[in-house]
């Protein structure tokens, strides 16, 4: 995401050359002007330098890079102009192979795991996922950047996926929260039922939906254990 006030052209030195990051949504004229300003300051340093022009994954990026590369060669006598090297992509098989040999034993997790009762007036915030083995009383508030799992009664307020992760979910053995937020969605006045089993809430078609865990197993679709 590029903010409105971000400069359209950024320049930094990399090894024996320069790395130019461009906003491809701006006009070619503007980009050229901005580059001229930056390269004029470099003077003789630009001569024969290796330049990488990074326009992200934009459509027609090659064409833009060629045009601007030609412009730089002509105006400032730079050396080779290229696009950034492609990132190495690890094939899925390799990942699975690694997981099979317990690759996750080396993973460090951001999960906050608590044991005991969360009482009224207590606020618990987790950067990522939050697991509570115990009950969450009415009046308590639990907030997580990722998923929330409560191995007990969930009677308080819960916010999963703060601030805007709509893929987060909330699961509780006894799901009766006073209010549920997932990402930017809010649902209130759930609960009341007491005899239902394990339930979870997730965002379906832009609204929070509570489903029985065993009937619509949310993880059943994931064929392979993955680190989250």
């Amino acid at each position: 995401m590029i903010l409105e006030d971000a400069p359209p052209v950024k320049l930094k030195g990399v090894g024996d050359g320069f790395w130019v990051t461009l906003d491809p949504s701006r006009s070619e004229e503007l980009l050229k002007n901005e580059m001229t300003k930056l390269f004029e300051r470099l003077r003789h340093l630009a001569i024969n330098a290796r330049v990488v022009i990074d326009v992200g994954d934009a459509q027609g990026g090659d064409e833009l890079v060629n045009t601007l590369g030609g412009f730089l060669k002509e105006q400032f006598d730079v050396g080779v102009v290229t696009r950034p090297p492609e990132k190495r992509v690890i094939p899925v098989e390799r990942i699975r192979q690694r997981d099979l040999s317990q690759g996750w034993t080396h993973r460090r997790s951001d999960v906050l795991m608590l044991r005991g009762r969360v009482r009224s007036g207590q606020n618990i915030e987790a950067k990522k996922h939050l697991i509570i083995t115990g009950d969450v009383n009415p009046g308590a508030q639990i907030i997580a950047g990722g998923d929330v799992l409560v191995m007990g009664r969930l009677l308080g307020q819960v916010h999963a996926g703060r601030p805007d992760n709509d893929d987060a979910m909330v699961l509780a053995l006894d799901f009766r929260p006073t209010q549920v937020k997932i990402g930017e969605h809010v649902a209130a006045g759930l609960g009341g039922k007491t005899d239902s089993g394990v339930e979870f809430a997730s965002v379906v078609n832009g609204a929070i939906l509570v489903q029985d865990y065993l009937k619509s197993n949310p993880f059943g679709r994931i064929p392979w254990p993955e680190v989250i």
Binding site: R119, S120, G121, Q122, D135, N137, P138, G139, L155
Partner: protein
């Protein structure tokens, strides 16, 4: 041996803190202990009225803490129950005249003089609550079987735990008929949420209103169910922790049913 300071608190107002303080204090005194009950509700004193000692107030807890009198001058001795003393609150000041340091100083003296010091905390969790719990060794949380009272009690329990005070619960004003019909939360429902040790269960009792208005200690009335419940709570506090908790029920015991049939009651 130094005395124990027990704070009676609830978060919510009007659940029976003052009645519980007066009754448990009186019951402990009847057990033969030297007991002081202290009204920490500065500005809104009630405990003196409940104990019927209003007309004998000269000094109060604010005077003791701020050094205007000594403890013996402020403590009013109850004439009906031996070993029961009241340190009343001030009616003219507000909660900010006391500091936790001042209360801690006074508490040291109270521990020396008495076996039990029962502090009646004001409602709320602000300054008055802080002053009441600062010196406490133990706490009794009073709640009634309704949702708002439980919510507040839960908050207070959290605050007490954060001060390393392990509270015990008194569920007050249980109406067995309503519990049986499912219209009122049972003590099990309350315990499910609060999950702390139970000190006792107290049934709803008209005698409480009479006792409060006349200033006659509840525990002296043998026909008061609430009074008897408070006496059992006092025994549990005073070295009989395993005394079984009696659950208020609709039907009385065998003897009651028998006498009812004969038309004696």
């Amino acid at each position: 041996m130094e005395g124990r300071i027990i704070v009676v608190t609830s978060g919510k107002g009007g659940v029976g803190k003052t009645t519980a303080t007066a009754s448990i204090g009186a019951a402990l005194a009847l057990e033969g202990k030297r007991v002081a009950v202290i009204d920490m509700d500065i500005g809104l004193r009630n405990l003196d009225v409940v104990l019927g000692l209003e007309n004998r107030i000269v000094f109060n807890i604010v005077d003791v803490v701020n050094g205007r009198c000594n403890l013996r001058q402020a403590a009013i001795r109850d004439r009906r129950i031996e070993n029961l003393f009241l340190v009343p609150a001030s009616q003219s000041d507000n909660k900010d005249v006391l500091t936790t340091a001042g209360v801690d100083r006074a508490a040291k003296q109270l521990r020396k003089e008495f076996d039990y010091v029962i502090m009646d905390s004001p409602a709320g969790i602000e300054r008055g609550f802080e002053n009441s719990v600062t010196a406490a060794d133990e706490a009794i949380v009073v709640c009634t079987p309704d949702v708002s009272s439980i919510r507040d009690a839960d908050r207070v329990i959290g605050l007490l735990y954060s001060r390393s005070i392990t509270p015990r619960l008194v569920v007050n004003r249980i109406i067995p008929e309503m519990v049986a019909k499912g219209d009122m939360l049972s003590h099990e429902d309350v315990m499910e949420v609060l999950s702390i040790d139970l000190a006792g269960l107290v049934p709803m009792d008209e005698q409480v209103v009479i006792a409060t208005n006349t200033g006659m200690p509840l525990v002296l009335q043998n026909d008061s169910k609430a009074g008897q419940a408070f006496r059992r709570i006092a025994r549990r506090l005073n070295g009989e922790p395993d005394l079984p908790v009696e659950v208020p029920s609709v039907k009385g015991g065998m003897w009651n049913r028998f006498t009812q049939k004969l038309g004696l009651k």
